[in-house]
């Protein structure tokens, strides 16, 4: 499936864009990503710029999403917040994938008591709801971008480890692996050239499906105050900043939350469509 997958990637992408849901998802994600990347150019104000005479202004022509309690333009902060949230989501998934593949490969390939031990550890990690574990880790580390990424990664790597291990176990006993070993390839070489290429596509699919969840987790941590520290604009943090003022100043929490929602919808649309396409192709 792995080799196959790489060759099929262009056609998968094409099919993705041809279906309504997939197209919508790609559009949403692209627009949000574009806006985030171009934030320095598009944003009308500096996101950290406090204008105390314009505090708590409702949405208007000058500030299309209004201002917060320090007079900062919410639209600009939302744009810059996108960079943070997307970066956290992608990085944490990437890190989780890396850890998961490493542990899964070792576990599956080496087997024996190491496999047992690693799987026990994986199970232990899985006995926490992911957010709770991420929260505990993030709360203990000092607030910061890297620490948030690490916290989320440490709470989500187990599923990738399981996939990697399952595939490794499947392939391990295939004749061509034995053949490669018998002609003198080292175990590491076999791992790298034969097993990894089969593991990666499956994991990439799972990772893509999880991007939306990563954004939600990151926002959740930010909302509770254990994400990136203020005054950095982060969507979850921004929602919490408007929490006490929700009654009279709805826009402070609403817009950043809306952005979280829209970006997760985008990623989930892509994920759903991807799952449909691959389901059809890989029906047994």
């Amino acid at each position: 499936m792995g080799e196959n997958m790489r060759i099929q990637l262009p056609s998968i992408i094409r099919e993705l864009l041809m279906k309504k849901a997939g197209l919508a998802g790609v559009l949403i994600v692209s627009i949000i990503s574009l806006l985030s990347i171009l934030a320095p150019i598009i944003a009308p104000y500096d996101p950290l710029d406090q204008r105390l005479d314009e505090r708590l202004n409702p949405p208007s022509f000058r500030h299309i999403m209004g201002t917060d309690k320090l007079g900062r333009d919410i639209f600009s902060r939302v744009l810059y917040g996108g960079r943070i949230s997307l970066f956290i989501a992608i990085s944490s998934v990437a890190l989780a994938v890396a850890i998961g593949i490493l542990i899964g490969l070792i576990s599956g390939y080496v087997g024996g008591s190491i496999d047992n031990a690693l799987m026990r550890i994986t199970d232990m990690f899985l006995s926490f709801p992911a957010l709770i574990l991420a929260l505990a880790i993030a709360a203990m580390l000092r607030p910061g971008l890297v620490n948030v990424i690490v916290a989320i990664a440490l709470s989500t790597w187990p599923q990738y480890a399981r996939i990697a291990r399952a595939i490794t176990l499947q392939i391990k006993s295939e004749p061509y692996i034995e053949a490669a070993l018998s002609i003198g390839s080292t175990r590491i070489r076999v791992l790298a050239t034969h097993i990894v290429p089969m593991v990666i596509p499956q994991i990439m699919i799972q990772a893509t499906l999880n991007l939306g969840g990563a954004i939600l987790t990151a926002a959740g941590l930010g909302f509770l105050g254990f994400g990136v520290p203020p005054p950095t604009p982060e969507w979850g943090l921004m929602v919490s900043e408007g929490r006490d003022l929700i009654q009279s100043h709805w826009w402070i929490s609403t817009f950043p939350g809306l952005m979280i929602f829209l970006s997760v919808v985008g990623f989930n649309l892509i994920g759903d469509q991807l799952r449909d396409i691959l389901d059809v192709r890989y029906r047994v």
Binding site: R120, I121, D123, M124, F125, S127, F128, P129, A130, L131, I132, L133, L135, A136, I137, A139, M140, L141, R142, G212, L216, A219, G220, F223, L224, G225, F226, G236, V239, S240, R243, I246, Q247, W250, S253, T254, G257, L258, I260, F261, V264, V265, N268, L269, D272
Partner: protein
């Protein structure tokens, strides 16, 4: 099982001891005289070397002692026991809503696949799994309480309502038991908003899984055979489509409960719900080590137990699986 508990505890313990921060100093503040800080630190055992702390911790854990909360100065276990029913009430109410809405929606969606109803329901479900739970909570609170005033605000009970005696800790049940109808209705009204928020998000997840499961079942031969028996469609749907599909859904309930616990942590403070979630978030803000460790362990334990129960039910329900 015990191994898993110790494992959980170990992870949590080391997570909390990672940074050599000084919780006592943080809580007491820089004004506190050093002797006081030292004394309290000794009292809580934070002066001992880490490995010693770990051993003490595990030993205590096995005895059911989770230490003292640094901020409330009460045993953590006591605090948790007091707050647990509130979260349980919320989680259970949310789960009921999630199942009562999610499963029928999933069934209808699958049977009327690709109809406009199916598309609509799928969009609503997609929204449900994409929404940040804390944001939805705030928005609904804004709309239904602050703006429209049709639902009560944060808290479990209005202050003017007489609180029922604490029998189970679930205000709704307790007020029913003691015949306090005013409290029952009031508590129920307070429960609606937070349970609906958590319930909607979970129902979306359940609806999606139900739909997928039923679509899988529809592909199977026994449905075609049932049709060839000339059975009425309704009977086929119930006995040959829904029943076999329910089994995978049961396994998902464990995961759903986990997300309900996460949701509780995120929304209890918004709704001023005095449960385990708000306890944990507060403990984290105050760096109350023992409370954090205790809270996380209890949540992980609840999650593990629920999943274990779900696994057992699954084995019981599916005749194809033999235990052992």
């Amino acid at each position: 099982m015990a191994f898993v508990v110790i494992g959980i505890a170990t992870i949590v313990f080391f997570v909390t001891r990672v940074i050599p921060a000084d919780p006592i100093g943080a809580i007491l503040g820089p004004q506190a005289p050093p002797e006081v800080v030292d004394r309290i630190r000794r009292e809580y055992g934070f002066d001992k070397p880490v490995y010693q702390q770990y051993i003490d911790f595990i030993v205590n854990l096995l005895r059911g002692d989770l230490g003292r909360s640094i901020s409330t100065n009460r045993p953590v276990l006591e605090d948790i026991k007091e707050r647990l029913p509130a979260t349980f009430e919320l989680a259970t109410a949310s789960l009921l809503i999630a199942l009562l809405i999610g499963i029928p929606v999933g069934i209808i969606s699958a049977i009327r696949k690709d109809s406009s109803l199916d598309h609509m329901l799928r969009i609503v479900s997609l929204f449900g799994i994409s929404m940040p739970v804390f944001w939805l909570g705030l928005i609904l609170l804004l709309v239904f309480y602050y703006t429209l005033g049709i639902l009560p605000g944060p808290g479990r009970l209005d202050p003017y309502v007489q609180e029922p005696p604490r029998i189970t800790g679930l205000i709704t049940i307790d007020s029913l038991i003691s015949g306090n109808m005013a409290a029952f209705i009031n508590a129920l009204l307070h429960l609606i908003l937070p349970a609906s928020v958590l319930g909607y998000l979970s129902s979306a997840y359940i609806a999606r899984i139900t739909r997928a499961s039923i679509l899988e079942t529809l592909k199977q031969d026994h449905v075609r055979f049932a049709r060839s028996k000339g059975l009425p469609w309704r009977e086929i749907v119930v006995r040959h489509i829904i029943r076999p599909s329910l089994i995978p859904i049961v396994t998902v309930i464990g995961l759903v409960y986990g997300s309900l616990l996460e949701g509780a942590v995120l929304t209890e403070t918004i709704f001023a719900w005095p449960g385990l979630g708000s306890y944990l978030t507060r403990a984290m803000v105050f760096m109350d080590y023992n409370a954090i460790v205790g809270g996380v362990i209890v949540i992980a334990l609840i999650y593990s137990i629920v999943n274990l129960v779900v696994d057992i039910i699954y084995v019981y329900l599916d005749p194809r699986i033999k235990y052992g």
